[in-house]
């Protein structure tokens, strides 16, 4: 039956493709010990699975292709032998394989992926999910930012995550497992990056309209760069250097912006939206929805709903000159 062969061919073709999981937030490209452990476990299981699946398909194809002929090549066709085969492959081998898997994952992998005791790690970061962005705090410093987490490379970092409204899930696939961010129930996970770079993640628990655009990025920096970054984040906003920027700050404080956003060093103390004190030190806006460039920023301020459908930031009445001043001001918040 040539159709069988065609089906088989397409199956293996798609299968090969299926295995080549890749991309910049792939679980199969780990950059930390826990993520690597899980990856190894996954590959081990895949090998076992392919054998099991292959065996089942082999038996099925044999039964299909050789009707009325005698039993299996090796096993023969006595009912006893067939019963024994069913018992061995259907019960004995699965039981042994599953026990081995249970022991392996509980004894070995769990050790690596357990969240660390807080005092064990070099630092703790608090990440709070809200519809649809992440607030990032560095306890012990005044630094607060959003969606872009900076950590020192090769350092174990304790993430404590919670949610402000509905359930979200914090997940950086290359750095470690995901943990749910629940309202009122802190959850913890260790992250670690073995190489400087940018590691992407997405919210992994369905949380409403913009669940799709609630991304998060971890920047692993060298310790010196990280220090410098954190020191800057801890400072109040830079004083607006130009008259236009000063006008922008007035606009910001007089419009509703201040009721939702905090800019440290001003009277803006809102807590609904992201802290904008060092807005320009971020690469993206709206939980990685758009790049943080002047045009996009202006677009966001004037009409956030078009940039990100459903976002909790409303479009406000802002005139052209006000917008110009606002953007000039925000652009200087480095």
């Amino acid at each position: 039956m040539p159709l069988w062969r065609a089906a088989w061919l397409s199956f293996t073709l798609v299968g090969t493709l299926a295995l080549s999981g890749c991309g910049q937030q792939s679980t199969l490209d780990p950059h930390s010990e826990p993520a690597r452990q899980i990856e190894t476990l996954w590959w081990v299981m895949l090998v076992g699975s392919v054998i099991a699946f292959g065996g089942a398909c082999y038996l099925l194809v044999i039964a299909w292709r050789r009707p009325e002929r005698t039993g299996l090549p090796v096993v023969g066709d006595s009912p006893r032998a067939i019963e024994a085969t069913v018992a061995v492959f259907g019960i004995a081998i699965p039981v042994v394989a599953l026990i081995a898997l249970f022991v392996y994952s509980n004894v070995s992998v769990i050790q690596a992926t357990e969240p660390p005791a807080p005092e064990e790690t070099a630092m703790t970061i608090e990440v709070t999910g809200s519809q649809w962005w992440w607030q990032v705090r560095y306890p012990g410093t005044p630094a607060i930012t959003a969606n872009e987490i900076h950590i020192p490379v090769n350092t174990r970092v304790n993430i404590v995550t919670e949610a402000e409204d509905v359930i979200h899930s914090f997940w950086i696939p290359q750095l470690n497992r995901k943990v749910d961010s629940l309202p009122g129930k802190p959850n913890r996970v260790e992250i670690f990056a073995d190489e400087p770079g940018r590691y992407l993640g997405s919210c992994a628990e369905f949380c409403g309209v913009q669940h799709a655009q609630m991304d998060v990025a971890v920047y692993a920096d060298t310790p010196e760069r990280f220090r410098a970054w954190l020191d800057n984040q801890a400072r109040p906003r830079p004083t607006p250097p130009t008259p236009l920027a000063r006008k922008g700050e007035q606009v910001f404080l007089s419009k509703q912006c201040a009721s939702c956003h905090t800019i440290r060093g001003t009277s803006a103390r809102g807590e609904v939206g992201p802290d904008l004190t060092h807005l320009k030190s971020r690469e993206t806006l709206g939980a990685l929805t758009i790049p943080n460039r002047k045009g996009y920023l202006a677009g966001w301020v004037i009409d956030p709903q078009t940039m990100k459908e459903g976002t909790k930031m409303p479009a406000l009445d802002i005139t052209g000159p006000e917008l110009q001043a606002l953007v000039e001001y925000l652009e200087r918040l480095r």
Binding site: A18, G21, Q25, T113, R177, L182
Partner: protein, 578 residues
């Protein structure tokens, strides 16, 4: 049908013992006249008519759910696609998942059960025919109430309706309420149906049909019914609590007032996981009927399969928290649920090997029902294996709520349940209508569906492994997920076409299909003893059952009396039906 007709059709003229046992006919006299035309469908309490109503209604919902799926696939076919916005997509996900589960798979199995259980156990109707009609209409009204939400706002919280997202603070529109009413109405429908099945199967079996001789499909319907009875109260309670949270100021699930959103997850999955076995076990039952008939040999390990079914159902009640591995949970609890999930895999593996052993050395008759039935083990093994992988909680910590799970659940529900349902459709259509479905179109449909299905869902494993979360309406170009999604979208349209081909087949064969006769496949079970379609009272004479394959006994008896060698009953049938 009468015994005489049966013999006439088999070409035997025999004063046989069967006729001697015939009971007096029930004669209708002084009964109110039944309405004719379409009204008879509205008022019927005949289990066969209700079964057909179930099948027609559920397949309509299947088409609706399929269209919703294809719309989603269209949106996901390209990165940064703008065909639809997030609200629409989230509505579609919720409608699709809910429709497929509550309005297709669970009730379509009730439909097969309704039609077949009385026939297979040699009864003249279900135990409570009116309750049966009530079940059906509750199900229909559940579906209507749910789809009415399209006129205002559809539900947008997924088929799981996790709190607090589904609370009024976040989704104030009536969509979630429509979902709650659907859960209540279809839940009540299933509950009444389940009680009816249990009563029927325990009390109305033909003489000689001990519990150890009931057809495996009937056995799985029995287990399905018990599982429904155990699991449904949990979701009914949870949905009621959600309703009062939303409208009457309670705070069961509201964390800002001392409630616990995780309570919802426990209550939901205590129902939700048994639900997946509710959806798969009767499909297993269907192929346990189909495989031996087309392999022309008895099912291998009848007792093992029946026992494994019961074991799966029991363990299904102990695994619910494997859906909650990413919530803060003590490691011992994680390990317990990992282990209990593993345990379910063992009886499942036993079944798979029993089916394979049934096919081995069989005299295989290559008919469409067998194609669908033989594909099920292969596809279900993939879904089962990925299920074991997800039960390993460190791996689930990575793959939970990604497309890997979407792939897993479709391998189980589509590759398992739906392929089983299609096997059942091709197998029993001749009994229900008196006509065979076209073999050529049927096989074409099978191959298009088989290839389309694997194209659609195999690559989704990779999308999940490369970090794509589920339930997203949009993904950026540089995420590296576009190729997987494009393949998946192409596959899904192929799958859709494959399903359409079968629907066309049904339409054509209803009018032009070959006459089936009473027993086109040389079946093993009692439904093949009566006419196709069966008369209203099912059987004039209910034969005594002497084994798990009563029809074989009956054929043998007849041939023996004719003096033909008894062995020839096991031979492949003459190509009467092809």
């Amino acid at each position: 049908m009468t015994t005489a007709e049966y013999r006439a059709q088999e070409g035997t003229v025999d004063p046989g013992r069967l006729a001697e046992r015939a009971r007096p006919q029930i004669v209708e006299r002084g009964l109110p006249r039944r309405p004719g035309g379409w009204l008879q469908w509205l008022t019927t309490t005949d289990h066969k008519k209700i079964g057909i109503l179930y099948l027609v209604a559920t397949f309509m919902f299947f088409v609706v759910g399929g269209v919703e799926a294809l719309m989603m696939r269209l949106q996901l076919g390209a990165a940064q696609n703008t065909i639809m916005d997030g609200t629409t997509y989230n509505g579609l996900v919720s409608l699709h998942g809910t429709t497929m589960i509550f309005l297709f798979v669970v009730p379509v199995l009730a439909g097969f059960g309704n039609y077949l259980v009385p026939l297979m156990i040699g009864a003249r109707d279900m135990a409570f025919p009116r309750l049966n009609a009530l079940s059906f209409w509750l199900f229909v009204f559940g579906g209507i109430v749910f789809y009415m939400s399209l006129f205002f706002t559809p539900p947008e919280a997924g088929w799981t309706s996790y709190t607090p997202l589904s609370d009024d603070a976040f989704l104030p529109s009536g969509g979630v309420d429509a979902w709650i009413f659907l859960v209540h109405l279809t839940g009540l429908s299933s509950l009444l149906g389940a009680i009816n099945f249990v009563a029927t199967i325990h009390n109305m079996r033909a003489k000689g049909m001990g519990l150890g001789r009931i057809p495996l499909f009937v056995w799985t319907i029995l287990v399905y019914s018990y599982l429904l009875i155990i699991a449904l109260p949990s979701i009914a309670a949870a949905a009621t609590m959600l309703l009062t949270d939303r409208h009457f100021g309670t705070a069961f699930f509201d964390p800002t007032a001392g409630g616990d959103p995780l309570l919802w997850q426990h209550l939901f999955w205590f129902f939700g996981h048994p639900e997946v076995y509710i959806m798969i076990l009767p499909a297993f039952g269907i192929i346990s009927e189909v495989l031996p008939v087309f392999a022309r040999k008895p099912i291998f390990g009848y007792k093992a399969i029946a026992g494994a079914t019961a074991a799966i159902a029991f363990y299904a009640l102990l695994v619910w928290a494997h859906h909650m591995f990413t919530t803060p949970t003590a490691t011992v609890v994680l390990a317990f649920f990992m282990l209990s999930s593993f345990v379910v895999a063992i009886p499942t593996g036993i079944k798979i090997f029993n089916w394979l052993a049934t096919l081995w050395r069989g005299t295989i008759v290559f008919r469409t029902p067998l194609y669908f039935a033989a594909a099920l083990p292969a596809l279900f093994v993939i879904g089962g294996i990925s299920g074991v992988q997800l039960a390993v909680f460190p791996v689930d910590w990575q793959l939970h709520d990604t497309y890997f799970v979407v792939a897993h659940l479709h391998y189980v529900l589509f590759g398992g349940s739906v392929f089983g349902i299609f096997a059942g459709l091709y197998y029993w259509f001749p009994k229900m209508t008196g006509r065979l479905l076209s073999e050529g179109i049927g096989k074409l449909s099978f191959w298009v569906m088989f290839v389309g299905f694997n194209l659609t869902f195999l690559v989704q494993h990779s999308a999940g492994l490369s970090g794509m979360p589920r339930r997203i309406y949009w993904y950026p170009e540089d995420a590296g997920w576009e190729a997987f999604n494009l393949i998946s979208t192409i596959g899904s349209f192929m799958l859709g076409i494959g399903v359409m081909i079968t629907l066309v087949n049904v339409g054509l064969s209803l009018r032009k299909g070959k006459r089936a006769g009473n027993d086109p496949w040389k079946g093993n079970t009692l439904e093949w003893f009566t006419q196709s379609p069966p008369p209203e009272n099912n059987f004039d004479v209910i034969p005594r059952v002497r084994s798990v394959e009563p029809m074989k006994d009956i054929r043998r008896e007849i041939l023996e009396r004719e003096g033909r060698p008894a062995g020839s009953v096991a031979q492949p049938m003459a190509s009467r039906a092809s």
